[in-house]
Protein backbone atom coordinates (compact mmCIF):
# COMPACT_ATOMS: atom_id res chain seq x y z
CA UNK A 1 0.00 0.00 0.00
CA UNK A 2 1.31 3.44 -0.97
CA UNK A 3 1.38 6.10 1.67
CA UNK A 4 0.70 9.81 1.21
CA UNK A 5 4.39 10.51 1.75
CA UNK A 6 5.33 8.10 -1.01
CA UNK A 7 3.00 9.88 -3.42
CA UNK A 8 4.55 13.28 -2.84
CA UNK A 9 7.90 11.74 -3.50
CA UNK A 10 6.72 10.18 -6.77
CA UNK A 11 4.98 13.31 -8.17
CA UNK A 12 6.12 16.82 -7.29
CA UNK A 13 2.69 18.39 -6.68
CA UNK A 14 4.18 21.75 -5.87
CA UNK A 15 5.54 22.13 -9.39
CA UNK A 16 3.18 23.90 -11.77
CA UNK A 17 2.78 22.01 -15.04
CA UNK A 18 4.15 23.76 -18.09
CA UNK A 19 1.61 25.03 -20.63
CA UNK A 20 1.29 23.17 -23.87
CA UNK A 21 3.24 24.78 -26.64
CA UNK A 22 1.47 26.36 -29.60
CA UNK A 23 3.21 27.98 -32.54
CA UNK A 24 3.79 31.66 -31.86
CA UNK A 25 1.36 34.11 -33.42
CA UNK A 26 1.39 37.84 -33.84
CA UNK A 27 -1.96 39.28 -34.97
CA UNK A 28 -2.31 42.90 -35.91
CA UNK A 29 -5.65 44.37 -34.86
CA UNK A 30 -7.47 45.47 -38.00
CA UNK A 31 -9.84 47.99 -36.46
CA UNK A 32 -11.70 49.88 -39.15
CA UNK A 33 -11.40 47.19 -41.79
CA UNK A 34 -14.68 45.63 -42.69
CA UNK A 35 -13.24 42.40 -44.02
CA UNK A 36 -10.20 40.97 -45.72
CA UNK A 37 -11.28 42.48 -49.03
CA UNK A 38 -11.92 45.92 -47.64
CA UNK A 39 -9.93 49.08 -47.92
CA UNK A 40 -7.60 50.62 -45.39
CA UNK A 41 -8.90 53.72 -43.65
CA UNK A 42 -7.75 56.57 -45.84
CA UNK A 43 -5.48 58.95 -44.01
CA UNK A 44 -3.30 60.02 -46.92
CA UNK A 45 -4.04 63.70 -47.36
CA UNK A 46 -5.38 65.16 -50.61
CA UNK A 47 -4.34 68.79 -50.69
CA UNK A 48 -5.59 69.78 -54.14
CA UNK A 49 -8.53 69.28 -56.47
CA UNK A 50 -7.56 69.03 -60.12
CA UNK A 51 -4.23 70.55 -59.19
CA UNK A 52 -5.71 73.57 -57.40
CA UNK A 53 -4.69 73.77 -53.72
CA UNK A 54 -7.69 73.47 -51.43
CA UNK A 55 -6.25 76.30 -49.35
CA UNK A 56 -6.44 78.59 -52.40
CA UNK A 57 -10.08 77.66 -53.04
CA UNK A 58 -11.11 78.24 -49.45
CA UNK A 59 -9.21 81.54 -49.26
CA UNK A 60 -11.12 82.76 -52.28
CA UNK A 61 -14.60 81.27 -51.79
CA UNK A 62 -14.85 80.35 -48.11
CA UNK A 63 -15.78 77.20 -46.26
CA UNK A 64 -17.87 75.15 -46.63
CA UNK A 65 -17.51 75.08 -50.39
CA UNK A 66 -18.81 72.85 -53.14
CA UNK A 67 -16.25 72.32 -55.90
CA UNK A 68 -16.98 70.85 -59.31
CA UNK A 69 -14.35 69.50 -61.68
CA UNK A 70 -15.16 70.39 -65.28
CA UNK A 71 -12.50 67.92 -66.40
CA UNK A 72 -14.28 65.05 -64.65
CA UNK A 73 -17.69 66.11 -65.98
CA UNK A 74 -16.40 66.15 -69.55
CA UNK A 75 -14.41 62.95 -69.18
CA UNK A 76 -17.37 60.97 -67.82
CA UNK A 77 -19.76 62.34 -70.44
CA UNK A 78 -17.42 61.44 -73.29
CA UNK A 79 -16.88 58.00 -71.80
CA UNK A 80 -20.62 57.33 -71.72
CA UNK A 81 -21.24 58.79 -75.17
CA UNK A 82 -18.46 56.80 -76.81
CA UNK A 83 -19.41 53.57 -75.07
CA UNK A 84 -23.03 53.87 -76.22
CA UNK A 85 -22.14 55.05 -79.73
CA UNK A 86 -19.85 52.06 -80.25
CA UNK A 87 -22.80 49.76 -79.62
CA UNK A 88 -25.84 51.57 -81.03
CA UNK A 89 -25.95 53.87 -84.04
CA UNK A 90 -28.21 56.66 -82.76
CA UNK A 91 -27.52 57.88 -79.23
CA UNK A 92 -28.61 61.09 -77.53
CA UNK A 93 -27.79 61.71 -73.86
CA UNK A 94 -30.02 64.22 -72.06
CA UNK A 95 -28.61 65.83 -68.92
CA UNK A 96 -30.80 65.10 -65.90
CA UNK A 97 -31.37 68.62 -64.61
CA UNK A 98 -32.53 67.62 -61.15
CA UNK A 99 -29.17 65.93 -60.47
CA UNK A 100 -27.49 69.34 -60.63
CA UNK A 101 -29.07 72.28 -62.39
CA UNK A 102 -26.41 74.89 -61.82
CA UNK A 103 -26.11 76.79 -65.08
CA UNK A 104 -22.37 76.25 -65.43
CA UNK A 105 -22.82 72.50 -65.02
CA UNK A 106 -25.77 72.28 -67.43
CA UNK A 107 -23.99 74.36 -70.03
CA UNK A 108 -20.93 72.15 -69.79
CA UNK A 109 -23.11 69.18 -70.71
CA UNK A 110 -24.91 71.09 -73.46
CA UNK A 111 -21.56 72.09 -74.96
CA UNK A 112 -20.72 68.40 -75.06
CA UNK A 113 -23.89 67.78 -77.06
CA UNK A 114 -26.28 66.75 -74.32
CA UNK A 115 -29.97 67.60 -74.42
CA UNK A 116 -31.86 68.56 -71.24
CA UNK A 117 -34.05 66.16 -69.28
CA UNK A 118 -36.46 68.13 -67.11
CA UNK A 119 -39.20 67.16 -64.69
CA UNK A 120 -40.81 70.51 -63.89
CA UNK A 121 -41.65 73.85 -65.42
CA UNK A 122 -38.80 75.43 -63.51
CA UNK A 123 -36.33 72.96 -64.99
CA UNK A 124 -37.67 73.43 -68.51
CA UNK A 125 -37.34 77.18 -68.18
CA UNK A 126 -33.83 76.74 -66.86
CA UNK A 127 -32.96 74.60 -69.89
CA UNK A 128 -34.38 77.24 -72.25
CA UNK A 129 -32.41 79.85 -70.34
CA UNK A 130 -29.33 77.73 -70.93
CA UNK A 131 -29.86 77.92 -74.66
CA UNK A 132 -31.60 74.61 -75.24
CA UNK A 133 -34.23 74.81 -78.01
CA UNK A 134 -37.50 73.23 -76.93
CA UNK A 135 -37.03 70.34 -79.36
CA UNK A 136 -33.95 69.29 -77.37
CA UNK A 137 -35.82 69.17 -74.10
CA UNK A 138 -37.12 65.90 -72.69
CA UNK A 139 -40.08 66.69 -70.45
CA UNK A 140 -40.78 63.95 -67.92
CA UNK A 141 -42.34 63.66 -64.52
CA UNK A 142 -45.72 63.07 -62.91
CA UNK A 143 -46.58 66.76 -62.40
CA UNK A 144 -46.20 68.78 -65.59
CA UNK A 145 -47.81 72.21 -65.28
CA UNK A 146 -50.12 73.26 -68.10
CA UNK A 147 -48.27 76.36 -69.41
CA UNK A 148 -44.99 74.46 -69.70
CA UNK A 149 -46.75 71.45 -71.17
CA UNK A 150 -48.36 73.61 -73.84
CA UNK A 151 -45.04 75.27 -74.68
CA UNK A 152 -43.38 71.86 -74.81
CA UNK A 153 -46.03 70.44 -77.15
CA UNK A 154 -45.87 73.48 -79.42
CA UNK A 155 -42.08 73.52 -79.41
CA UNK A 156 -41.62 69.87 -80.25
CA UNK A 157 -40.15 68.74 -76.95
CA UNK A 158 -39.97 65.05 -76.14
CA UNK A 159 -42.97 64.71 -73.83
CA UNK A 160 -43.37 61.43 -71.98
CA UNK A 161 -46.81 60.88 -70.49
CA UNK A 162 -46.86 59.52 -66.97
CA UNK A 163 -50.51 58.57 -66.31
CA UNK A 164 -54.00 58.41 -67.86
CA UNK A 165 -55.08 61.74 -66.36
CA UNK A 166 -52.13 63.44 -67.97
CA UNK A 167 -52.94 61.74 -71.24
CA UNK A 168 -56.46 63.17 -71.09
CA UNK A 169 -55.17 66.61 -70.08
CA UNK A 170 -52.72 66.71 -72.99
CA UNK A 171 -55.45 65.59 -75.34
CA UNK A 172 -57.70 68.41 -74.14
CA UNK A 173 -54.85 70.91 -74.40
CA UNK A 174 -54.17 69.78 -77.97
CA UNK A 175 -57.85 70.16 -78.91
CA UNK A 176 -58.07 73.60 -77.32
CA UNK A 177 -55.04 74.83 -79.23
CA UNK A 178 -55.56 72.93 -82.47
CA UNK A 179 -52.48 70.77 -82.04
CA UNK A 180 -51.76 67.21 -83.16
CA UNK A 181 -48.63 66.59 -81.12
CA UNK A 182 -46.32 63.59 -81.02
CA UNK A 183 -45.89 62.17 -77.55
CA UNK A 184 -44.26 59.30 -75.75
CA UNK A 185 -45.51 57.24 -72.85
CA UNK A 186 -43.58 56.13 -69.84
CA UNK A 187 -43.44 52.42 -69.04
CA UNK A 188 -42.68 50.61 -65.83
CA UNK A 189 -41.91 46.93 -65.45
CA UNK A 190 -40.21 44.34 -63.30
CA UNK A 191 -36.52 44.05 -64.16
CA UNK A 192 -35.32 42.11 -61.14
CA UNK A 193 -34.32 45.01 -58.92
CA UNK A 194 -36.12 46.13 -55.80
CA UNK A 195 -38.00 48.18 -54.90
CA UNK A 196 -40.00 47.95 -58.13
CA UNK A 197 -40.36 51.31 -59.75
CA UNK A 198 -44.03 51.20 -60.61
CA UNK A 199 -45.16 54.61 -59.40
CA UNK A 200 -44.22 56.26 -62.70
CA UNK A 201 -45.75 55.45 -66.06
CA UNK A 202 -47.87 52.60 -67.31
CA UNK A 203 -47.18 49.02 -66.35
CA UNK A 204 -45.87 46.91 -69.17
CA UNK A 205 -46.23 43.53 -67.50
CA UNK A 206 -49.96 43.69 -66.80
CA UNK A 207 -51.03 45.21 -70.12
CA UNK A 208 -51.66 48.74 -68.85
CA UNK A 209 -49.06 50.17 -71.24
CA UNK A 210 -50.79 48.52 -74.21
CA UNK A 211 -54.10 49.96 -73.01
CA UNK A 212 -52.51 53.41 -72.85
CA UNK A 213 -51.39 53.17 -76.45
CA UNK A 214 -54.89 52.08 -77.57
CA UNK A 215 -56.41 54.89 -75.54
CA UNK A 216 -54.00 57.38 -77.08
CA UNK A 217 -54.85 56.16 -80.58
CA UNK A 218 -58.60 56.27 -79.89
CA UNK A 219 -58.37 59.96 -78.95
CA UNK A 220 -57.30 60.86 -82.46
CA UNK A 221 -55.27 63.86 -81.31
CA UNK A 222 -51.98 62.44 -80.20
CA UNK A 223 -49.58 60.19 -82.04
CA UNK A 224 -47.09 57.97 -80.28
CA UNK A 225 -43.49 58.53 -81.33
CA UNK A 226 -41.54 57.24 -78.38
CA UNK A 227 -41.30 55.18 -75.24
CA UNK A 228 -39.70 56.04 -71.95
CA UNK A 229 -38.64 53.71 -69.16
CA UNK A 230 -36.57 54.28 -66.06
CA UNK A 231 -35.74 51.07 -64.27
CA UNK A 232 -34.72 52.42 -60.88
CA UNK A 233 -31.97 54.36 -59.21
CA UNK A 234 -28.44 53.47 -58.17
CA UNK A 235 -28.81 50.15 -60.00
CA UNK A 236 -25.73 48.11 -59.21
CA UNK A 237 -26.66 45.11 -61.37
CA UNK A 238 -26.24 46.11 -65.01
CA UNK A 239 -28.26 43.06 -66.07
CA UNK A 240 -31.41 44.91 -64.95
CA UNK A 241 -30.93 47.12 -67.98
CA UNK A 242 -30.70 44.16 -70.31
CA UNK A 243 -33.90 42.72 -68.86
CA UNK A 244 -35.70 46.04 -69.09
CA UNK A 245 -34.45 46.93 -72.58
CA UNK A 246 -35.39 43.46 -73.82
CA UNK A 247 -38.95 43.95 -72.54
CA UNK A 248 -39.14 47.40 -74.12
CA UNK A 249 -37.83 45.96 -77.39
CA UNK A 250 -40.56 43.33 -77.41
CA UNK A 251 -43.15 46.06 -76.85
CA UNK A 252 -41.68 48.22 -79.63
CA UNK A 253 -41.80 45.29 -82.03
CA UNK A 254 -45.39 44.54 -81.07
CA UNK A 255 -46.41 48.16 -81.68
CA UNK A 256 -44.94 47.97 -85.15
CA UNK A 257 -46.32 44.53 -85.90
CA UNK A 258 -49.87 44.94 -84.59
CA UNK A 259 -50.54 48.68 -84.77
CA UNK A 260 -48.13 49.80 -87.45
CA UNK A 261 -46.51 52.32 -85.05
CA UNK A 262 -42.88 53.13 -85.69
CA UNK A 263 -41.02 55.13 -83.08
CA UNK A 264 -38.57 58.01 -83.24
CA UNK A 265 -36.97 57.34 -79.89
CA UNK A 266 -36.58 54.95 -76.99
CA UNK A 267 -35.67 56.73 -73.77
CA UNK A 268 -34.19 54.32 -71.25
CA UNK A 269 -33.75 56.83 -68.48
CA UNK A 270 -30.89 56.83 -66.00
CA UNK A 271 -30.24 55.01 -62.77
CA UNK A 272 -26.54 54.26 -63.29
CA UNK A 273 -24.80 54.12 -59.91
CA UNK A 274 -21.85 56.30 -59.03
CA UNK A 275 -18.92 55.07 -56.97
CA UNK A 276 -20.55 56.42 -53.86
CA UNK A 277 -21.34 53.88 -51.18
CA UNK A 278 -24.84 53.28 -49.92
CA UNK A 279 -25.17 52.71 -46.19
CA UNK A 280 -26.60 49.29 -46.98
CA UNK A 281 -23.75 48.45 -49.34
CA UNK A 282 -21.26 45.86 -48.15
CA UNK A 283 -18.40 46.58 -50.53
CA UNK A 284 -17.08 50.00 -51.56
CA UNK A 285 -18.26 51.54 -54.80
CA UNK A 286 -15.02 51.06 -56.69
CA UNK A 287 -15.46 47.31 -56.27
CA UNK A 288 -19.13 46.90 -57.11
CA UNK A 289 -20.31 49.74 -59.34
CA UNK A 290 -20.41 48.66 -62.99
CA UNK A 291 -18.36 50.78 -65.37
CA UNK A 292 -20.08 53.00 -67.93
CA UNK A 293 -18.96 50.47 -70.56
CA UNK A 294 -20.74 47.66 -68.68
CA UNK A 295 -23.92 49.72 -68.40
CA UNK A 296 -23.74 50.64 -72.09
CA UNK A 297 -23.25 47.01 -73.02
CA UNK A 298 -26.20 45.92 -70.86
CA UNK A 299 -28.55 48.56 -72.28
CA UNK A 300 -27.71 48.01 -75.93
CA UNK A 301 -27.71 44.22 -75.63
CA UNK A 302 -31.37 44.48 -74.70
CA UNK A 303 -32.08 46.47 -77.86
CA UNK A 304 -30.40 44.04 -80.20
CA UNK A 305 -33.67 42.41 -81.31
CA UNK A 306 -35.38 45.61 -82.46
CA UNK A 307 -37.27 44.86 -85.67
CA UNK A 308 -36.04 47.95 -87.49
CA UNK A 309 -33.64 48.49 -90.36
CA UNK A 310 -30.46 50.06 -89.03
CA UNK A 311 -31.10 53.45 -90.64
CA UNK A 312 -34.65 53.51 -89.18
CA UNK A 313 -33.72 52.59 -85.63
CA UNK A 314 -35.24 54.82 -82.94
CA UNK A 315 -32.82 57.19 -81.25
CA UNK A 316 -31.66 55.89 -77.88
CA UNK A 317 -32.08 58.68 -75.33
CA UNK A 318 -30.35 58.34 -71.97
CA UNK A 319 -30.90 60.45 -68.86
CA UNK A 320 -27.90 59.48 -66.78
CA UNK A 321 -27.30 61.98 -63.98
CA UNK A 322 -25.66 60.55 -60.89
CA UNK A 323 -23.42 58.18 -62.82
CA UNK A 324 -21.98 61.10 -64.76
CA UNK A 325 -21.49 63.80 -62.18
CA UNK A 326 -21.17 62.39 -58.68
CA UNK A 327 -17.40 61.95 -58.85
CA UNK A 328 -17.04 65.51 -60.20
CA UNK A 329 -18.23 67.08 -56.95
CA UNK A 330 -16.34 67.66 -53.68
CA UNK A 331 -17.48 69.43 -50.54
CA UNK A 332 -14.71 71.23 -48.68
CA UNK A 333 -15.47 71.55 -45.01
CA UNK A 334 -13.64 72.73 -41.91
CA UNK A 335 -13.32 71.20 -38.47
CA UNK A 336 -15.01 73.35 -35.83
CA UNK A 337 -14.57 71.19 -32.74
CA UNK A 338 -13.61 67.83 -31.32
CA UNK A 339 -15.68 66.05 -28.71
CA UNK A 340 -15.64 62.83 -26.77
CA UNK A 341 -19.07 61.23 -26.58
CA UNK A 342 -20.38 59.55 -23.47
CA UNK A 343 -19.83 56.13 -24.97
CA UNK A 344 -16.17 56.91 -25.52
CA UNK A 345 -16.34 57.56 -29.24
CA UNK A 346 -14.52 60.51 -30.67
CA UNK A 347 -16.67 63.05 -32.48
CA UNK A 348 -15.77 65.92 -34.72
CA UNK A 349 -17.99 68.86 -35.65
CA UNK A 350 -17.57 70.30 -39.15
CA UNK A 351 -19.14 73.29 -40.87
CA UNK A 352 -21.13 71.26 -43.45
CA UNK A 353 -23.97 69.02 -42.38
CA UNK A 354 -27.15 67.46 -43.70
CA UNK A 355 -28.33 70.94 -44.68
CA UNK A 356 -25.85 70.56 -47.54
CA UNK A 357 -25.72 66.77 -47.69
CA UNK A 358 -29.24 65.46 -47.60
CA UNK A 359 -27.62 62.54 -49.35
CA UNK A 360 -25.73 61.71 -46.13
CA UNK A 361 -28.86 59.88 -45.01
CA UNK A 362 -28.13 57.10 -47.51
CA UNK A 363 -24.42 57.41 -48.36
CA UNK A 364 -21.23 56.76 -46.45
CA UNK A 365 -19.05 59.41 -48.03
CA UNK A 366 -15.30 59.33 -48.26
CA UNK A 367 -13.78 61.93 -45.96
CA UNK A 368 -10.18 62.92 -46.56
CA UNK A 369 -7.81 65.31 -44.87
CA UNK A 370 -6.01 67.97 -46.89
CA UNK A 371 -2.80 67.93 -44.84
CA UNK A 372 -0.94 65.32 -42.82
CA UNK A 373 -2.47 64.86 -39.39
CA UNK A 374 -0.46 63.31 -36.59
CA UNK A 375 -2.19 60.80 -34.38
CA UNK A 376 -3.82 57.45 -34.20
CA UNK A 377 -6.95 56.98 -36.30
CA UNK A 378 -9.89 55.87 -34.24
CA UNK A 379 -13.61 55.41 -34.79
CA UNK A 380 -15.07 58.88 -35.18
CA UNK A 381 -18.54 60.33 -35.66
CA UNK A 382 -18.66 63.34 -37.98
CA UNK A 383 -21.36 65.82 -37.02
CA UNK A 384 -22.50 68.80 -39.04
CA UNK A 385 -23.02 72.31 -37.64
CA UNK A 386 -26.80 72.14 -37.16
CA UNK A 387 -28.34 72.26 -33.73
CA UNK A 388 -30.17 69.09 -34.64
CA UNK A 389 -29.52 65.58 -33.40
CA UNK A 390 -29.93 64.13 -36.88
CA UNK A 391 -27.09 66.15 -38.32
CA UNK A 392 -24.65 63.29 -38.84
CA UNK A 393 -22.40 63.27 -41.88
CA UNK A 394 -20.69 59.94 -41.06
CA UNK A 395 -21.73 57.66 -38.25
CA UNK A 396 -18.41 55.84 -38.19
CA UNK A 397 -15.12 56.55 -39.87
CA UNK A 398 -11.52 56.04 -38.86
CA UNK A 399 -9.93 59.45 -38.45
CA UNK A 400 -6.95 60.76 -36.51
CA UNK A 401 -7.52 63.64 -34.07
CA UNK A 402 -8.34 66.66 -36.22
CA UNK A 403 -7.24 70.07 -34.94
CA UNK A 404 -9.78 72.88 -35.20
CA UNK A 405 -9.43 74.48 -38.61
CA UNK A 406 -8.45 71.28 -40.39
CA UNK A 407 -9.86 71.19 -43.91
CA UNK A 408 -11.59 68.01 -44.99
CA UNK A 409 -12.84 66.85 -48.36
CA UNK A 410 -16.16 65.01 -48.53
CA UNK A 411 -16.74 63.16 -51.75
CA UNK A 412 -18.28 62.22 -54.09
CA UNK A 413 -21.04 64.81 -53.73
CA UNK A 414 -21.59 65.95 -57.32
CA UNK A 415 -25.08 64.47 -57.64
CA UNK A 416 -28.11 65.91 -55.85
CA UNK A 417 -26.18 67.47 -52.94
CA UNK A 418 -26.35 71.01 -54.33
CA UNK A 419 -29.88 70.76 -55.70
CA UNK A 420 -31.18 69.21 -52.49
CA UNK A 421 -29.27 71.44 -50.10
CA UNK A 422 -31.29 73.88 -48.05
CA UNK A 423 -31.01 77.17 -46.24
CA UNK A 424 -31.61 75.73 -42.82
CA UNK A 425 -29.96 77.28 -39.77
CA UNK A 426 -27.01 78.21 -41.97
CA UNK A 427 -26.99 79.95 -45.33
CA UNK A 428 -25.96 78.04 -48.41
CA UNK A 429 -22.29 78.20 -49.36
CA UNK A 430 -20.61 79.13 -52.62
CA UNK A 431 -20.07 76.65 -55.42
CA UNK A 432 -16.88 76.81 -57.48
CA UNK A 433 -15.83 75.07 -60.67
CA UNK A 434 -12.31 74.19 -61.73
CA UNK A 435 -11.75 74.42 -65.46
CA UNK A 436 -9.72 72.00 -67.55
CA UNK A 437 -6.61 74.20 -67.34
CA UNK A 438 -6.77 74.69 -63.60
CA UNK A 439 -8.59 78.01 -63.78
CA UNK A 440 -11.41 78.35 -61.28
CA UNK A 441 -14.42 80.55 -60.68
CA UNK A 442 -17.44 80.87 -58.46
CA UNK A 443 -20.45 79.42 -60.27
CA UNK A 444 -22.87 80.25 -57.44
CA UNK A 445 -22.22 82.92 -54.87
CA UNK A 446 -22.71 82.18 -51.20
CA UNK A 447 -26.23 82.96 -50.07
CA UNK A 448 -26.83 86.11 -48.06
CA UNK A 449 -29.52 87.02 -45.55
CA UNK A 450 -30.98 89.31 -48.20
CA UNK A 451 -31.35 86.30 -50.52
CA UNK A 452 -33.06 84.36 -47.77
CA UNK A 453 -35.65 86.98 -46.87
CA UNK A 454 -36.19 88.42 -50.36
CA UNK A 455 -39.61 86.83 -50.75
CA UNK A 456 -40.77 87.22 -47.18
CA UNK A 457 -43.57 89.66 -46.36
CA UNK A 458 -44.77 90.88 -42.96
CA UNK A 459 -48.51 91.72 -43.02
CA UNK A 460 -49.34 95.27 -42.11
CA UNK A 461 -51.32 94.29 -39.01
CA UNK A 462 -48.16 92.68 -37.60
CA UNK A 463 -45.84 95.41 -38.77
CA UNK A 464 -47.90 98.32 -37.45
CA UNK A 465 -50.05 96.82 -34.76
CA UNK A 466 -49.44 96.38 -31.03
CA UNK A 467 -48.32 93.23 -29.36
CA UNK A 468 -51.32 91.17 -28.25
CA UNK A 469 -51.78 90.63 -24.57
CA UNK A 470 -51.43 87.05 -23.43
CA UNK A 471 -54.51 85.01 -24.25
CA UNK A 472 -56.09 87.75 -26.33
CA UNK A 473 -56.17 88.34 -30.07
CA UNK A 474 -54.26 91.29 -31.43
CA UNK A 475 -56.18 94.55 -31.45
CA UNK A 476 -54.68 96.95 -33.98
CA UNK A 477 -54.15 100.38 -32.57
CA UNK A 478 -54.85 99.40 -28.94
CA UNK A 479 -52.75 101.76 -26.83
CA UNK A 480 -50.45 100.81 -24.07
CA UNK A 481 -48.72 97.84 -25.66
CA UNK A 482 -45.21 97.76 -27.13
CA UNK A 483 -44.77 98.18 -30.86
CA UNK A 484 -42.02 96.30 -32.69
CA UNK A 485 -39.60 98.36 -34.70
CA UNK A 486 -40.36 98.19 -38.42
CA UNK A 487 -38.25 95.81 -40.46
CA UNK A 488 -35.56 97.73 -42.25
CA UNK A 489 -33.08 96.62 -44.87
CA UNK A 490 -29.69 95.67 -43.49
CA UNK A 491 -27.04 98.33 -43.54
CA UNK A 492 -23.96 97.70 -45.63
CA UNK A 493 -22.00 97.07 -42.45
CA UNK A 494 -24.53 94.54 -41.21
CA UNK A 495 -24.61 92.88 -44.59
CA UNK A 496 -20.86 92.49 -44.49
CA UNK A 497 -21.15 90.28 -41.45
CA UNK A 498 -20.93 86.69 -42.53
CA UNK A 499 -23.80 85.07 -40.71
CA UNK A 500 -23.07 81.71 -42.17
Amino acid sequence: MTTHTDLTKAVDLSRKPKPLYARPTLLRHQSGLMNKMGTQPRITPTDAIDGVPVSELVAQYGSPLFVYSQRTIEHRYRELQSNLARRYPKVQPAWSYKTCYLDAVCRTYHKEGSWAECVSGMEVNKALRNGMPMNKVVFNGPAKDEPTLLAALKGGAVVNIDHFDELAAIEQLAKTHGLFPKVGIRLNMATGNTPRWDRFGFNLDNGQAWDAVRRLQAGGRLSLNGLHAHFGTFILDADNYTIGATKVTAFVNRLKRELGITLDYIDLGGGFASQNRLKTQYLPGDQVTPSLAQYAEAVTRGLSELDYAEHELPTLITETGRGLIDEAGTLVTTVLANKRLADGRRAVVVDAGVNLLYTAFWYNFEIETTAPVVGVPEPTVVFGPLCMNIDVVREHIMLPPLPVGTRLLIRPVGAYAVTQSMSFIHLQPAVAMIGPDGQHAEIRAAETLDDLVRNERVPEWIEAGPQPAAGRPATPGRPGTPVLPRLTPLSAADRAIRLN
Binding site: K18, Y21, R23, P24, L26, H29, S31
Partner: protein
Protein backbone atom coordinates in the same frame (compact mmCIF):
# COMPACT_ATOMS: atom_id res chain seq x y z
CA UNK B 1 -1.77 47.51 -18.88
CA UNK B 2 1.30 46.29 -17.07
CA UNK B 3 4.25 47.00 -19.26
CA UNK B 4 7.29 44.81 -19.55
CA UNK B 5 9.12 47.63 -21.22
CA UNK B 6 12.89 47.67 -20.85
CA UNK B 7 15.42 50.22 -21.93
CA UNK B 8 17.61 49.11 -24.79
CA UNK B 9 20.11 51.05 -26.72
CA UNK B 10 20.30 48.52 -29.56
CA UNK B 11 18.72 50.33 -32.53
CA UNK B 12 17.80 46.96 -34.04
CA UNK B 13 15.39 46.27 -31.22
CA UNK B 14 14.54 49.85 -30.28
CA UNK B 15 10.94 49.51 -31.53
CA UNK B 16 10.45 46.31 -29.59
CA UNK B 17 11.85 47.99 -26.52
CA UNK B 18 9.17 50.66 -26.69
CA UNK B 19 6.27 48.25 -26.98
CA UNK B 20 3.88 47.92 -24.10
CA UNK B 21 3.11 44.24 -23.61
CA UNK B 22 0.44 43.08 -21.21
CA UNK B 23 0.64 39.73 -19.37
CA UNK B 24 -2.27 38.53 -21.49
CA UNK B 25 -0.48 39.27 -24.75
CA UNK B 26 -1.94 42.62 -25.78
CA UNK B 27 0.76 44.64 -27.50
CA UNK B 28 0.66 48.37 -28.09
CA UNK B 29 3.09 50.27 -30.28
CA UNK B 30 3.02 53.89 -29.03
CA UNK B 31 4.97 55.01 -32.08
CA UNK B 32 2.16 54.17 -34.54
CA UNK B 33 -0.82 53.40 -32.36
CA UNK B 34 -0.95 49.90 -33.79
CA UNK B 35 -2.05 47.10 -31.51
CA UNK B 36 -1.42 43.38 -31.70
CA UNK B 37 -2.19 40.16 -29.92
CA UNK B 38 0.47 37.56 -29.23
CA UNK B 39 -0.11 34.13 -27.84
CA UNK B 40 2.04 32.89 -24.90
CA UNK B 41 4.82 31.48 -27.07
CA UNK B 42 4.79 34.63 -29.18
CA UNK B 43 5.04 36.76 -26.08
CA UNK B 44 7.99 34.68 -24.85
CA UNK B 45 9.77 35.15 -28.15
CA UNK B 46 8.99 38.85 -28.39
CA UNK B 47 10.42 39.45 -24.95
CA UNK B 48 13.37 37.20 -25.66
CA UNK B 49 14.28 39.00 -28.88
CA UNK B 50 13.84 42.33 -27.14
CA UNK B 51 16.25 41.13 -24.45
CA UNK B 52 18.83 40.27 -27.08
CA UNK B 53 18.69 36.48 -26.81
CA UNK B 54 20.32 34.41 -29.52
CA UNK B 55 18.39 31.91 -31.61
CA UNK B 56 19.69 29.05 -29.50
CA UNK B 57 18.75 30.86 -26.33
CA UNK B 58 15.26 31.51 -27.66
CA UNK B 59 14.82 27.81 -28.45
CA UNK B 60 15.98 26.93 -24.95
CA UNK B 61 13.57 29.45 -23.46
CA UNK B 62 10.63 27.96 -25.35
CA UNK B 63 11.66 24.47 -24.32
CA UNK B 64 11.90 25.55 -20.69
CA UNK B 65 8.62 27.44 -20.64
CA UNK B 66 6.38 25.06 -22.56
CA UNK B 67 5.61 21.40 -23.08
CA UNK B 68 7.04 21.47 -26.59
CA UNK B 69 8.13 17.94 -27.34
CA UNK B 70 8.40 17.37 -31.08
CA UNK B 71 7.97 21.01 -32.01
CA UNK B 72 10.40 22.70 -34.40
CA UNK B 73 11.22 25.54 -32.08
CA UNK B 74 14.08 26.85 -34.20
CA UNK B 75 11.84 27.21 -37.24
CA UNK B 76 9.09 28.80 -35.17
CA UNK B 77 11.45 31.34 -33.61
CA UNK B 78 12.80 32.33 -37.03
CA UNK B 79 9.29 32.62 -38.49
CA UNK B 80 8.17 34.77 -35.58
CA UNK B 81 11.11 37.10 -36.10
CA UNK B 82 9.96 37.36 -39.73
CA UNK B 83 6.47 38.32 -38.55
CA UNK B 84 7.92 41.06 -36.40
CA UNK B 85 9.73 42.40 -39.46
CA UNK B 86 6.55 42.21 -41.55
CA UNK B 87 4.74 44.31 -39.00
CA UNK B 88 7.50 46.88 -38.87
CA UNK B 89 8.48 45.98 -35.31
CA UNK B 90 11.95 44.83 -36.32
CA UNK B 91 14.07 46.26 -39.12
CA UNK B 92 14.51 44.04 -42.15
CA UNK B 93 18.25 43.99 -41.50
CA UNK B 94 17.77 42.29 -38.14
CA UNK B 95 19.14 38.77 -37.81
CA UNK B 96 19.01 36.44 -34.87
CA UNK B 97 22.45 35.69 -33.56
Amino acid sequence: MSSTQTHHTDPQTATLANLAVSPTGFVFDPRTGATFSVNPSGRALLEGIRDGLSLDALVDKLADDFEAAGADLRRDAMEFARSLKDQGLLPNTFELA
